[in-house]
Point group: C2
């Protein structure tokens, strides 16, 4: 991050701005105060830091910009989501310098019998994608890198909610290597493509097979979908984040629930937390029309079933359970009904 | 609450609205789903419930109204704050039907040697204020009820952050009786007036003296102010709620900190929670320019000192500690420096 500071300060100086708003994901907030102070001193502007949660570029502090009367948003960590058209934002992508070689070789070892490998990563390791491709090619693999989707900008780049770069090449490959810390992105790949996925983790220098995690996840989703299918009073969550709000989908979902004799109400919320949902004691289950990874990652935090729209359609008998992977994260899900 | 439903439904029908947004404090959310469904069915509109935290009428879901494309906000629980000028809001005040007589008589017993009593309450018990006055007069007390302030609308009504009705008569009375559940409102009264305050709690039918709580609170604030006075890097919190945002105060606070050789940055946030503040590891203390009760009620949740502006001014040596009560919740605090 630090080598971008001079560039950023010059970019601010070139504009006629008086006040800038800085937005950081949690992991980078430890640098926030010093960075803001440096910007104030060197770019001669007032810097304000946004402290509300921020998990992605779907959650840009656009409203805050107006409230605090700032001219420019500097969003740290995430890459721009190209289909969100906002002006006055500078994206400072968090690019890691950590070498991926060992982790990729360990992942390749797991795929020793497969030849055609799809290669994917997050914005953090995107600089190493070409190097990883060469490493795999040098040991005789045929490497495929898919095109970006609506929410990504680089070939091979994936988000928790945009796995286009995986789906794009899923038919051609025998498995995927996902360069990333944690299993979050790899889980999405195997769930939505059905193809064996190995995480190459450059922080731990290890490779992990996700078969068991995928099976456990599907089992847990099945339990929640079953519970949901018995519920009568359903809250449809409308998420108030710049890149997540989808009133049309929420209303279609509500109509579908009512056609199936459920009672349903739209509930709008910024943060989907147990604190915000638990007090609605007569709502038996929720359908979340925002971030599709919340039900999958955070279900255990919630007392009641919280489902994605496509999971709710399974629970209502509108689409078959067998299609779970194909329909999960399907952005045109509302065209299905 | 329920006897207002028909009136509310008629009020909605009279307007040309298609979609209404309902906002509830946590305690009333148990009724939210049924109430929303009833409004949908009887007023022929779409109802959306806001699920983000809401602790007062200083936190109106004005932005949400635009985001979900609703025409009207129905805000449950709190009374209108008259100096916030927003249109398209219906306030449904939560008025309790619980009798206050026993609790008031027990409070009067504590004040058996005093004659001149100030009487205060919250919106919840405002219907019983006249009755309580009569009860006290019947046993020979002289009862004073102060005028409302900028944020309140009824005589004798107080908020956690507007104790004008107490200050208005503090010089005339020997003590205060505050009709309310919990000690929150009474604590504010004794802290800011210095007068002995007794809570008449109609839910528990008991009366409580607050002397010990007030002493403990002042001791705890003194500790935090002392800790703050040693801190070099200070975050000034700018709260993004409709009735709390005060950019001018935050900037004045920041300037004052820098004059006193502290480094300071403005930090904007919707919810002042440990989750949102803890990740700023190089910020040593916070000054909160929003809800003044957060530092007093919630300090223990936070690792670092979190102070009100007037407390920060004490910590910086700008105003004397002896004036703590008089300066606390002083809305024109920024005129002091």
């Amino acid at each position: 991050m630090y080598n971008l500071e001079e560039e950023l300060i010059n970019a601010i100086k070139k504009r006629t701005v008086k006040r800038v708003l800085l937005q950081f994901p949690n992991g980078l907030r430890k640098y926030a105060f010093k960075l803001a102070k440096k910007i104030e001193e060197e770019a001669n502007v007032e810097a304000i830091i946004s402290a509300d949660p921020c998990y992605g570029a779907c959650d840009l502090a656009i409203e805050e910009l107006k409230h605090v009367n700032a001219d420019l948003l500097i969003h740290y960590g995430h890459a721009k989501i190209p289909n969100l058209k906002f002006e006055n934002i500078i994206f400072i992508e968090a690019r890691s310098k950590i070498n991926v070689e060992q982790a990729v070789l360990k992942a390749a070892e797991i795929f020793k019998n497969e030849e055609k490998i799809g290669l994917l990563t997050t914005i953090q390791h995107i600089d190493f994608l070409t190097k990883a491709k060469t490493i795999l090619e040098n040991i005789g693999k045929k490497v495929y890198i898919g095109n970006p989707g609506e929410k990504t900008i680089y070939k091979g780049q994936i988000l928790g909610c945009d796995l286009t770069a995986a789906k794009d090449i899923a038919d051609k490959v025998e498995g995927f290597i996902v360069i990333s810390g944690g299993n979050f992105h790899g889980l999405g790949v195997q769930l939505t493509t059905g193809k064996k996925t190995v995480v190459a983790d450059p922080f731990l220098n290890e490779a992990r097979v996700l078969d068991e995690l995928v099976k456990a996840t599907i089992r847990k989703r099945w339990i929640q979908i079953s519970r949901f299918s018995e519920c009568k009073n359903i809250g449809v969550l409308l998420i108030l984040k710049s890149g997540q709000l989808n009133l049309k989908l929420a209303e279609k979902m509500k109509n579908e629930l009512e056609k199936k004799k459920r009672k349903s109400i739209l509930i709008c919320v910024r943060e989907v937390t147990p604190e915000n949902l638990n007090s609605f004691i007569d709502v038996e289950a929720f359908v979340n029309t925002g971030c599709p990874r919340i039900p999958i990652e955070d279900q255990l935090k919630f007392e009641k079933p919280i489902l994605n729209p496509e999971e709710a359609l399974i629970g209502l008998g509108v689409i078959p359970w067998e299609n779970y992977g194909k329909t999960l994260l399907e952005k045109n899900i509302w065209k299905l009904f």
